[in-house]
Symmetry: C2
Subunit: 336 residues, 2 copies
């Protein structure tokens, strides 16, 4: 069988992890990378990753430049933006050429929510060219959407969904500890959230995907995000947070249908959070109560979700696809 030709778009920490992981798969052949960083353009991917088998695969400043070089990937792994509109614009030359895209873009988990116009436009483009696009990940992409939806496959009746995720941010990398406001004055964090520059991305998309799968039309979504205050000084590898300063966030979104709270998503990410876990509660028939002890750590598993979705994506119908439209997620054995 011919190997699947892969290009990695975005060579930040997640992109490099994605490349390294994809390089372990016998069925994948990495043929290039794309990044706008002048320090990376033109370099060979083995230099950037330390993976010697990637020698000869070069970094281009755009997909257009990559295609102009004669490279012809089957799929782009995209890890370069949280914005659906920006992500779609970035990969447009690939989509026009019928090349599929798997992305970690949070807004693309349920793109119709924020960018209905672009969703319709790019969906039509993909159907014409034969390309497929899907976004995946851990959150959004799994814990708060795909997993609860999968669970309801055995439900006769679903009255409401509740998902709770508690992350001990002390065990996570620097950007996450920064993102949750570590060390900020509580009011500064609140102001930053109100300005749309703090908080977990993809929350509303998870909620939208859940409502879509349940056939519920939301009449309103209420979202709050409060800082969690350090009860005492907390020191991590990256931050020192004094008592009373922000050590994380408590974000909550409630989706209402007919005045009833049908979907509640509750996310707590803070330093030294005790008992990290993911919990899904389905009220209905049967009632279901699922817990993932310890939770699913985001970064490393996000890269796995991205690479694991590739064969499913390439077998799907052309268009902008949702995770609910692709076959059951599964680990892909790298030796196969």
């Amino acid at each position: 069988m011919a190997r699947i030709k892969v290009v990695q778009f975005g060579l930040g920490p997640i992109g490099i992890e994605s490349l390294k992981f994809a390089a372990t798969h016998a069925s994948l052949e990495i043929i290039g990378g794309v990044d706008i960083d002048p320090a990376k353009i033109g370099r060979s991917l083995d230099e950037l990753t330390g993976v010697s088998t990637l020698r000869g695969a070069r970094v281009f400043d755009s997909i257009a430049a990559l295609l102009a070089s004669g490279a012809r990937p089957d799929v782009i792994l995209h890890t370069a933006s949280s914005s659906a509109a920006a992500s779609l614009a970035q990969v447009r030359p690939a989509l026009e050429a019928g090349i599929s895209v798997a992305s970690t873009c949070e807004e693309l988990i349920f793109p119709i929510l924020r960018t209905p116009k672009e969703t319709a436009e790019y969906d039509a483009l993909c159907r014409k060219s034969g390309a497929r696009v899907v976004a995946t990940g851990v959150n959004p992409g799994f814990v708060m959407d795909v997993l609860p939806i999968c669970l309801t496959g055995v439900n006769r009746r679903v009255d409401s969904l509740y998902v709770e995720r508690v992350v001990n941010a002390s065990t996570r990398r620097q950007p996450l500890q920064a993102k949750i406001g570590s060390g900020m004055a509580p009011d500064d964090f609140r102001a930053k959230f109100r300005a749309g520059r703090a908080g977990h991305a993809g929350f509303q998309q998870s909620l939208g995907l859940l409502a879509h799968a349940m056939g519920w039309t939301l009449d309103s979504v209420e979202e709050t995000c409060e800082p969690v205050l350090a009860p005492a000084t907390i020191t991590t590898q990256f931050f020192r947070v004094e008592r009373g300063q922000t050590c994380g966030l408590h974000q909550r979104a409630i989706g209402h249908v007919g005045g009833e709270a049908k979907i509640i998503l509750d996310l707590q990410m803070f330093l030294d959070a005790p008992n990290p876990h993911d919990t899904v509660v389905v009220k209905g028939d049967p009632a279901l109560h699922l817990t993932l002890a310890g939770g699913v750590a985001g970064d490393s598993a996000t890269v796995a979700a991205l690479v694991n979705i590739v064969p499913r994506l390439l077998a799907a119908q052309p268009g902008l696809r949702l995770m609910t439209e692709l076959p059951l997620p599964s680990w892909v054995n790298p030796q196969r």
Copy 2:
């Protein structure tokens, strides 16, 4: 939108539940039933179910007779056999006519395991006629196969899978309490299991489907089934079990790859079992530990899984399909 025309094949307790549940779905139109019971043939489905909207939908003794009457279903809900070969033979006239089949047949969860010849033959037949077949359920079909596979979608590495299901059989219907050997002498139960007439059906199929999804070639499968002995007299609605008699079973299957135990399924179904639950443990990166508190009760949820899969099945490629080849399972809102 035109409603999906449904025929129910098998009018035992599960079949009747399936009919009643399907009747609540706005998108489904029940147009007939099939059963070999002379007491049911020719009767109207409203008499058998108490659902008045099913008046006029009649019971035929075979699919051939139903088709000869001019009925033209889109899908057959099949709940009439645990044997893949028998099930496929029962629905053959439908498949020849391009009509799809959703089944609860345990062996059809992974039919290549026991009936490779029939699997190839019927798969070819379906690809030619445009029909699709899939089997689903709770166990097999969800707890010990689909759910663990879905979970591994976020895995970089899977070293082994362990699934444990503990069912308190005292809360379940009579046939299940009988199936697990309630009231039998322990040696009689052991002899019955050795003769292939006791134990949980579909265990090996779940294991086969897991191995298939993980890309593992099993070199051996070891299966054991021991009676659980009543520690004191147990009285249920249906059985009285004396101390020392069989009050249930403990069944275990281990799949080996390269001499290593890669998949372990452990099923305990006994009267008054404490702490019923379903647990999935994925060893690998990340390590995952999932628990469904209380577990997922089989019968009612099996009917839900069967009806919920219908739209996914009808959108799938023709052929004998596995649950891993269909889109993510989901509840189907009956009002849609």
